[in-house]
């Protein structure tokens, strides 16, 4: 398997080239711009047969994607932050119409104040839109997950976004093992969609759906979300079996004997693993759960994985504005309600607007957690890392 030094954006663009979608409609935004640029050069150099639509906004980009998907195309786009926020309305339309679009998303904070660096506020703002959400830890993960996402989306007919941490992954070089074009094509197979405007019989897509049917149609969407976890798992297993690597819905790192679990998403997981090794060297029985999939929320997997935990330290790279903490914390606590109060939880919001988080900082909150675990009491369920107050 050829190994190339690629940034996250290059890795995602390379996956797009190999997927060779029928239609890509996109609009540039830092830090996802490169994905669109690189793909445009693939089009200009004849390396793909894609119809590329350089739209005048993200709202139109995603609208064109839904139109293309309804017409029977395999469709992809890329965006970030304000771009995803501008798409917000149409994200729901895509999910409701069961359009299996794949977005290569790069996580960036939301304005105001304007900031171009990483946090998870953008994708967390659309966690209720009916899209599957996959958070990659590094470029390899991003590359592999984008390829898997096509299969997943086109099996359950749900749109899917794969995101990387802005700049931290999107702009950092890493060795990435690239599959052969044919391997990718064989893995994704021919495009599948639930319906097509060119499918023969004339169909009406997006009708007005009132009190007597809307609820059932939304229920079908919820059911598709529920069952998609099985598909996510199956597609990953097949990928692993074929190519020797993969990403479980939740990845457990040194959790076997751990009674203290750290939870995180994205690039921070790499940093957290080093912090955990450090603490383990001091005899602390701590492990990591990397959430690879946030939507649907893997609550059953988490219940199992946290069944032996006494203390959970959650690292959230966004806030919910609920005054209860970040989204990972809020949702994990809800999932674990039956096990509580046996498990104590502490949430740390960190890294907003791209502020760095380092090994020491994570080690410090693990130590704090150890203390609280011994005391059997959480002093501050919500705190911040690396913040001047």
């Amino acid at each position: 398997m050829p190994r190339r030094a690629l940034t996250g954006n290059e890795a995602m663009a390379e996956a797009m080239r190999q997927i060779n979608p029928d239609v890509v409609a996109a609009y540039p935004i830092t830090p996802a711009t490169e994905i669109v640029q690189i793909f445009a050069s693939f089009v200009s150099d004849g390396l793909v047969t894609t119809q590329f639509i350089p739209t005048e906004s993200e709202h139109s980009a995603i609208s064109a994607c839904v139109g293309a998907s309804a017409a029977g195309a395999r469709v992809m786009t890329g965006t970030s932050s304000q771009g995803l926020a501008l798409m917000h309305e149409v994200l729901y339309q895509a999910a409701g119409l069961r359009a299996p679009i794949v977005i290569c998303e790069v996580n960036r904070s939301l304005s105001a104040p304007i900031n171009i660096h990483c946090d998870h506020s953008d994708t967390m703002g659309s966690k209720e839109a009916g899209w599957i959400q996959i958070y990659a830890e590094d470029s390899q993960d991003a590359y592999d997950s984008v390829i898997q996402a096509i299969r997943i989306a086109e099996t359950v007919f749900l749109p899917t976004m794969v995101s990387t941490d802005g700049f931290i992954i999107s702009h950092c070089m890493q060795g990435v093992e690239i599959l052969e074009d044919k391997q990718v094509q064989d893995f994704i197979g021919p495009h599948r969609s639930a319906y097509s405007l060119f499918g023969g019989a004339p169909i009406t897509v997006g009708p007005l759906d009132l009190q007597d049917y809307y609820f059932e149609h939304r229920r079908q969407l919820m059911e598709a979300m529920n069952t998609s976890l099985t598909t996510l798992d199956a597609v990953n297993k097949e990928f692993k079996q074929k190519f020797g690597r993969g990403y479980d819905i939740i990845e457990e790192y040194k959790t076997e004997d751990a009674d203290h679990i750290v939870m995180a998403m994205g690039s921070t997981c790499g940093t957290a693993k080093v912090a955990i090794d450090k603490m383990r060297a001091k005899g602390v029985k701590v492990g990591l759960i990397k959430l690879h999939v946030f939507r649907p929320f893997p609550h059953e997997q988490l219940k199992k994985a946290l069944s032996k935990a006494k203390f959970v330290t959650v690292l959230d790279r966004s806030d919910t504005a609920s005054s209860m903490g970040g989204p990972i914390f809020v949702e994990t606590r809800a999932a674990l309600y039956d096990q509580m109060p046996k498990i104590l939880f502490a949430d740390y919001i960190y890294g907003l607007g791209g502020r760095d988080i380092d090994i020491e900082e994570i080690a410090t909150v693990i130590e704090k957690g150890e203390k609280m675990k011994l005391q059997g009491k959480v002093e501050k369920p919500l705190d911040y890392i690396g913040l001047r107050e």
Binding site: D22, V23, A25, T49, T50, Q51, I53, P54, T55, E56, S57, H59, S60, A61, S63, A64, C65, V66, G67, A68, S69, A70, A71, G72, A73, V75, E89, V90, Q93, L97, L197, F198, P202, I203, T204, V205, G206, P207, L208, D209, L210, Y213
Partner: protein, 305 residues
């Protein structure tokens, strides 16, 4: 141009039984356009009266492929559909030739969807955009749009004791679209079906984007009796409020010359939305409205020379 008999063969593409008000001009616009376009046409629609009344699930008035997403994105959806057509044709997965028509009301076109339309035209997709201009947001209860004429009473430009309906002038959307160097642009009117049919035919033959702005008299929003739709349309052309013309690769042609001199207020008098303007003290407003119509007409005639 197809004759009436030929056109009537396509009558089932947009069926009756939908829930538009009696005498709705918008449905006449759609029907005439589709009779000309024929069955190998994909329709993309913006949210608004016509979308709402034709697709209440599980019913549909559409006998051809139709897609609706939102209020402001019908030109963006059609971009994706047209691009897919090219992609699938190249792969041999679609064999026949297809037309693409995006529809939007004045709200969905002059206002909230203007950016998407401008972008789609600039990108050169091969599609026809038809704006059915009923001059307000009818679906949400007759609010003003930038297509609402000066003086009209709407629920967000109500005629009150101090302000006499909409204060501002109409946006000249047809000229804005012509300024995109759009290969084919026209203004039409369902009261002149032959003229409209010819325009739809020309538009669909254009190798690139085309745009037709069609007046769509609305009995409910304008305040006239449902049996007067076509008459109101005709008089809008006669009084020069709604000139019928086309712009082919930059060349302007007037396609209908009014037969008699008629003041715009003769047309306005027939509609309740203007009734307050005929009260004591509003004479100057009427004079200004007439002046505006005259100026625009003169400007257009010069372009058509």
């Amino acid at each position: 141009m197809p004759n009436l008999k030929e056109l009537s063969k396509n009558a089932g593409l947009f069926t009756g039984g939908h829930r538009a008000c009696a005498g709705c001009g918008g449905t006449v616009v759609i029907n005439q356009a589709l009779c000309t376009a024929g069955k190998n046409t994909v329709v993309c629609f913006a949210t608004g009266c016509m979308e709402v009344v034709t697709t209440i699930y599980p019913y549909t008035a559409w006998g051809l492929p139709y897609a609706h997403l939102g209020f402001e994105n019908s030109a963006a959806i059609v971009s994706g559909v047209e691009a897919t057509y090219k992609a699938l044709k190249q792969k041999g997965q679609v064999k026949e030739d297809w037309n693409f028509i995006a529809f939007g009301g004045d709200g969905g076109t002059y206002d909230i969807g203007l950016q998407a339309l401008s972008g789609a035209i600039e990108r050169g997709h091969k599609f026809l955009y038809i704006c059915y201009d009923n001059q307000a947001y009818m679906n949400t209860g007759i609010q003003r749009s930038s297509a609402t004429p000066t003086g009209a009473n709407t629920t967000t430009s109500p005629a009150g004791t101090k302000i006499q309906g909409k204060v501002q002038r109409r946006k000249n959307l047809t000229e804005i679209i012509a300024a995109h160097d759009t290969p084919y642009v026209a203004q039409a009117n369902p009261a002149y079906w032959m003229d409209f049919t010819k325009k739809v035919e020309k538009a669909l033959k254009t190798d690139g984007p085309s745009f037709i702005n069609v007046l769509a008299p609305c009995p409910l929003g304008w305040g006239f009796s449902p049996n007067k739709t076509i008459e109101i349309g005709k008089l809008a052309a006669e009084c020069k409020f709604w000139p019928m013309y086309e712009v082919e690769n930059g060349k302007y042609t007037l396609t209908y010359k009014p037969k008699k001199e008629m003041k715009v207020e003769e047309w306005m008098k027939l509609q309740k939305r203007f009734s307050h303007l005929f009260k004591e003290g509003n004479k100057e407003l009427l004079t200004n409205i007439q002046k505006d119509v005259d100026t625009k007409w003169e400007t257009l005639l010069k372009k058509c020379e």
